[in-house]
Amino acid sequence: MSATPLLELRGIDKSFGPVQVLRNVDFAAHPGEVTALVGDNGAGKSTLVKCISGIYPTDAGEFLFDGQPVSINGPRDAATLGIEVVYQDLALCDNLDIVQNMFLGREKRNGIVLDEPTMEQLAAETLAGLSVRTVKSLRQHVSSLSGGQRQTVAIAKAVLWNSKLVILDEPTAALGVAQTAQVLELVRRLADNGLAVVLISHNMNDVFAVSDRIAALYLGQMVAQVKSTDITHSQVVELITAGRSGSLGLPADPAPGSNGNGAEPADPTPGAVR
């Protein structure tokens, strides 16, 4: 457990027009740890990730990377810092093969000529490290791969880059039992290698299987960020669905006015969240 987080966000606000999607969000990811980011649909998980990766500019708040304040103004800035995101829609090129996809944008070269053998070897080593055994050939087009294989290629691609922080958006959502276990093993291994890993997931089993910390978003607010060992399965579910659980989460005092269905009352625009 290192003292300074690799990435720390303070007071992040983000609105799309009148809809405030993130309000005063604090978030930290530590090196060597898996931080699970949980929350219901529309809680702002994807928006937060896109702010971190520089796709969306933030309205307010500060970024600290390795303790230093930084500004992320685009995906390139995030990549320069060593932040890699594996998106749900895997962003692979169907008409290229596995090796070509893994090295896309940073091909190994001899002079101006692509160094295919080196790239193929590195790709083979990386995939071997992930215990990938279902891929027939590294030279097959990505279009011929199954969902699980594509996920593995996408993660392996993020690992190949000299990344310090890897964000995985629902990496196991489309996978079968065995491949889910493999991907989680891989997620754990990334953290054990000293990377900071952020895992977005809906699956509580996955979250508790690999994460060191759990951060829960509820309607755009960070309601808790605690160690996984200090929280139970049902508490996390309560945080996700109601925004509080016992002493954790939003203050329990009922706000004046709306008393409706337990939706957190301090939120002036709950109806605006689609």
């Binding site: 390139r76 692979l92 896309l104 070269r109 083979a124 995939l127 065995a178 276990a181």
Partner: protein
């Protein structure tokens, strides 16, 4: 929690080393899976050549064989540039008249202003590059669909060509070097030398790759297959050079006419250069990536706009080269240079060769093979005395057939998960 994952060590690909048999088997499986590559073009080429040879024996003479190259050269060169644009799923309808404008610039510089040929060639290619940059900027930066931008270019360039040759008068090209491009032949010995260099170079590249992959423990094609490829190239080039080196003058005492036409090595060099760029450089890789999945390419840090602009520059630049060859062949430039069917033939050549109109799939070689098919149709039907009307209809049907094969093979590939 699931714990069924079995730990398995070892490399990702542990398939047995391929034999000749398994190589052929894999190839056949890819073809059946919809990855047909150049098969339709080669098939059509063989079929059409056989049909025309039977119908008109004069089709199969050395003289006509040489004619095929000079007739198809301009369209093939324009088509080679179009492959880059098609790889991104874009289209350049203005390439034909862009080549006309560049040819008009060439003729003006060399004939009207009297500069040497190399200044004229540079000016023509530079004109092409400027046209391409303009088209690319409009498509990539302004965001107008390439179909519309180049349709506008099609009209505008037609007008510019008309203005450059002063309302319909044609400008003759009398420079010896420029005329030689499409009208003269290499000395027979030089033809043999170039063929030998080409085969040796191909063999060196193929054997080096085989050796490199084998020593690194990567799966390599069986050596027999590699040698067969080299042998096939040697046979094809050998036969072609032999036929082209035959005497094809009607009256040998009056003038001797033999050797490889000079356009052939020009096409060959450009084919090698652009194939190298597409297959062996990261620029080429990025072109395929942008054509396959633009968003993925953008996220990989590829400057998508720059790639999109660059393919239009290459396309118009190659159109300029095609225009130069057309001017050389006609000995002059008129407002219709690069007009009429040139553009459609060029697009057709790329598609017949196997380049997909949907982007992401294609090779420069496709343009050459498809250009050969079109040249054979044009030439063969001309020999049989058919009218231009019938030629256009047949070429249109062949193009439609190629596009159908493209669409069907994509569907087949989608069904078998190949693409």
């Amino acid at each position: 929690m699931t714990t069924t994952a079995v730990k398995r060590e070892g490399p990702a690909a542990v398939a047995p080393a391929p034999t000749v048999g398994s190589h052929l088997h894999n190839y056949w499986r890819r073809v059946r899976g919809g990855d047909i590559g150049a098969l339709p073009a080669v098939g059509m080429l063989v079929l059409l050549s056989a049909a025309f040879s039977i119908a008109r024996p004069s089709f199969l003479t050395a003289g006509n064989f040489a004619n095929l190259f000079t007739q198809g050269a301009a369209v093939t060169l324009i088509s080679m540039g179009l492959v880059f644009v098609l790889l991104l799923g874009e289209i350049d309808l203005s390439a034909g008249f862009a080549s006309g404008v560049c040819a008009a610039v060439l003729a003006n510089v060399v004939t009207v202003f009297g500069y040497p040929w190399y200044v004229a060639v540079l000016a023509a290619v530079a004109t092409g590059a400027v046209i391409g940059t303009l088209l690319g900027l409009l498509v990539a930066k302004v965001g107008i669909p390439s179909f519309v931008v180049t349709l506008a270019g099609f009209l505008a360039f037609q007008g510019i060509a008309l203005m450059l040759v002063e309302e319909g008068k044609n400008i003759s090209v009398r420079d010896d070097v420029l005329l030689a491009i499409a009208n003269r032949n290499l000395p027979p010995a030089v033809g043999w030398l170039l063929a030998a260099v080409a085969v040796a170079g191909y063999a060196a590249v193929q054997l080096h790759r085989h050796w490199q992959r084998s020593t690194r423990g990567l799966l390599a094609d069986p050596i027999a297959v590699v040698l067969a490829r080299i042998g096939a190239l040697a046979v094809i080039l050998g036969v072609a050079v032999f036929i082209l080196n035959l005497e094809r003058s009607r009256n040998v005492l009056f003038t001797s006419l033999k050797g490889v036409p000079i356009v052939v090595p020009i096409i060959a060099v450009l084919l090698i250069v652009w194939t190298f760029v597409l297959q062996r450089t990261s620029y080429g890789r990025h072109v395929y990536a942008v054509g396959g999945n633009r968003e993925a390419a953008r996220r990989a840090g590829i400057n998508v706009d720059r790639i999109r602009i660059s393919v239009f520059v290459i396309c118009s630049g190659m159109a300029a080269v095609g225009g130069i060859v057309a001017a050389s062949r006609a000995n002059s430039v008129d407002p219709n240079t690069g007009g009429s069917s040139v553009l459609l033939y060029a697009v057709g050549a790329a598609v017949i060769g196997g380049t997909s109109l949907f982007g992401g799939k294609g090779r420069v070689l496709d343009a050459v093979l498809g250009g050969a098919v079109i040249a054979v149709i044009d030439n063969g039907m001309g020999l049989m005395g058919y009218s231009s009307g019938r030629k256009y209809v047949v070429t249109g049907i062949v193009l439609l057939g190629a596009a159908t094969i493209d669409a069907l093979s994509r569907r087949r590939a989608a069904a078998t998960g190949n693409r």
